[in-house]
Symmetry: C2
Subunit: 422 residues, 2 copies
């Protein structure tokens, strides 16, 4: 179908999905969950086609694993849809209604965004995830997944659309762009007439491309060069536990720690406690001079895991068993360093000092700023939102882990009784 | 100065303006207001240069009037700055702090956006306005005003910068791009490294250009093709008063009414009441067949002020003494018509019917939806915000009249005591 027609239909259908009551939406979501299970074989057969093609094209093992579906993964998808059905519906809430001196009653109502465009890579789970979060918030959604997952996505979307139709809901609440042409994707990013917001989900390259080309407003989900600053007054045992957790619990995620900043008066005491932890997990330490010297003096780092840091290390998100470390003479220097090199994601101070804790919270420019806790908590589920569309590292609209409200807008509703402006 | 250097300085200074206490900001704003008055002659002399050049270049009278400053207008500017000083400071407020099951305390703190870029036309008052709203919210601001106002803007910005410096605040909290080159303006729109948000203020052409070219996130302030729907059950006297106010109280503004939608069972009674009002204000009525016939039957429209509407009329923002009018058979048709042709600004229903009022509020897709009141109330001051940066017609970040909070972002602050993720 022509892209414009997809957009037109989505906009039209969004008027109807926006009016659906919570019960109707939840009922439909439960039907979708069931349909995914019922049609698992059909979905797996289509997924198999993508996998065969992927292997032929020499796709990396990690990517093939992300593309691969099995009964268990389809079960997880269905469970995810049911969880979204159980979440509170944010649509229709009216905040801060006030009576103006002229008698007008003005309140702010939470409403759907309208049409959400999702651009993502070859991960079929995002297809289901994006649909159910957008649908729960009354939006129509247009999906553009990676072309390596086209058969899988088409099968998933077909199952969802049929399940919606059986519930009396227009199928076009979810549409998939199947044209693999780059020009079509670019045109999609510029479909301002019909698309209210674009959410890219994927690697830094994908997100940069969308930000570069889109004229539709974008919610940027981003990379995390997350820091832990160990203050002079830190409880060092706590610092080590937090660093171990934030660096090694899961390395490939955006809320993992990539860089340590250590007060120079703490370094000599901290490094001997950290070395066994890094050695155990085989974490490569890229250290500035002072930390390098302290680590050499301590000894015990396995061959090749202690290296001098280069300037480029301060700005690098490794997503690997690598960490950079720098000493600073003061909290001011630490804050300045972090604000210079971070990506606005998640930053932690470990300290026992009240004033330093408050300064760090106040002055660090990031979506999530922690005192004495692991950066790994930056997550919609850990924050208690019950869902996550991504973690925004931009400052407009939504910042940090995004739950359902990030997929909503507001409108002012005004009750009058004949007021005119004087 | 090179654009990148302007950006770098703004970003650096924003760290400092973001930390300023409310008292310090208000004190500085009061000093700026005083400096504007003290240096009025110098500002007027520079403004004179712009006016002379404008006249030489054949600038239209309306534009010259917007460009022109005098003592009274500078007095109004200064008064505006003092009003912003008196507003509550939104920065630092922490919302919805909650304790998670693991003991983490998570709250959302209101913080400055960082660096705000303003792109606007030859209106020197926007220079002062944009500075004081951005400064009050702890942001650094980079201004790119219309080149026809360059001398005026340079004079105003110099006065503000000197006043800030005398208060011990870095001058670069406000910077003006003086390079009139289009390429520089485009580069400004793509300065993502340093600029957090762009706010274009001006006509539809300017805003379209910024949306087209910018990679920095944009808050779109927009045009208003505002409708009034007169329901079958409307109090027709109230309807006429609201229509007169919304159409004629001030014609050149985005919240003026441009189009009537009238239930067909109300048209024959309403038109005879409206004709004298339109005749009095010399409002041209572009009517569909039914309304045209009713108006002809009524008589009394001055020569040339009654015309048949063309399709293009439904989507036109006249900003003039012109109004389109269409009959519909039902509220459904009215809602569909308005959602099709409106620009998402402000829409009113006049009705005595409870269910229709609620349906209109629920289903109309616009920033401000009214029952029984004039669209002219869509304004930051009328809404009680005490200030207005513009009226957003987009759905991300801010929608409708924007007060100080629209110039802020949030960050999550998290108090822990050693939590790590399991």
């Amino acid at each position: 179908m022509e892209l414009k027609e997809i957009g037109r239909r989505a906009k039209e259908v969004s008027r109807q999905t926006g009016k659906l009551g919570t019960d109707a939406k939840n009922h439909a979501l439960r039907a979708v969950a069931e349909a995914l299970l019922t049609h698992a074989d059909q979905i797996l057969a289509e997924n198999q086609k993508d996998l065969v093609k992927g292997r032929e094209n020499g796709m990396a093992e990690g990517l093939l694993d992300r593309l691969m579906l099995d009964k268990e993964r389809i079960g997880q998808m269905a469970k995810g849809v049911l969880q979204v059905a159980d979440l509170e519906d944010p649509i229709g809430e009216v905040r801060a209604m006030k009576r103006r001196p002229n008698g007008l009653m003005i309140g702010e109502m939470r409403v759907p965004l309208g049409v959400v465009g999702m651009i993502y890579e070859a991960r079929p789970n995002v297809t289901v995830d994006a649909f159910c979060l957008c649908f729960k918030t009354g939006n129509a959604v247009i999906l553009k997944g990676g072309s390596d997952a086209l058969c899988s996505n088409a099968a998933l979307v077909a199952v969802i659309r049929d399940a919606l139709a059986a519930e009396g809901i227009p199928k076009d609440a979810v549409q998939l762009i199947t044209d693999p042409d780059r020009e079509t994707t670019t045109a999609f990013m510029r479909l301002n007439e019909y698309v209210d917001v674009l959410i890219p989900r994927g690697g830094a390259g994908l997100i940069r491309t969308v930000v570069e080309r889109a004229t539709v407003p974008v919610i940027e989900t981003g990379t995390g060069n997350c820091h832990i600053y160990v203050d002079e007054s830190a409880d060092l045992k706590m610092a080590v536990e937090i660093i171990e957790n934030a660096k090694t619990q899961r390395i490939g995620v955006c809320n993992a720690c990539e860089s340590l900043v250590i007060h120079r008066n703490a370094a000599d005491r901290l490094i001997p406690l950290l070395i066994p932890v890094f050695a155990k997990h085989r974490v490569e330490l890229r250290a500035d001079e002072a930390i390098y010297a302290a680590a050499e003096k301590t000894g015990g780092m396995p061959e090749g895991l202690l290296c001098p840091a280069a300037e480029a290390d301060w700005g690098t998100e490794y997503l690997d068993y690598v960490i950079s470390a720098k000493t600073t003479a003061s909290i001011d220097e630490a804050i300045a360093h972090i604000n210079r090199y971070n990506t606005g994601h998640s930053e932690t101070i470990v300290t026992q000092d009240y004033a330093n804790a408050q300064r760090f919270l106040g002055e660090i420019d990031a979506a999530c700023v922690y005192v004495n806790a692991s950066t790994r908590f930056s997550d919609g589920f850990e924050f208690g939102f019950g869902a996550e569309i991504g973690i925004s590292t931009q400052k407009l609209h939504a910042r940090g882990p995004m739950g359902l409200p990030a997929l909503t807008s507001t409108k002012y509703i005004i009750y009058g009784n004949g007021q005119i402006r004087g």
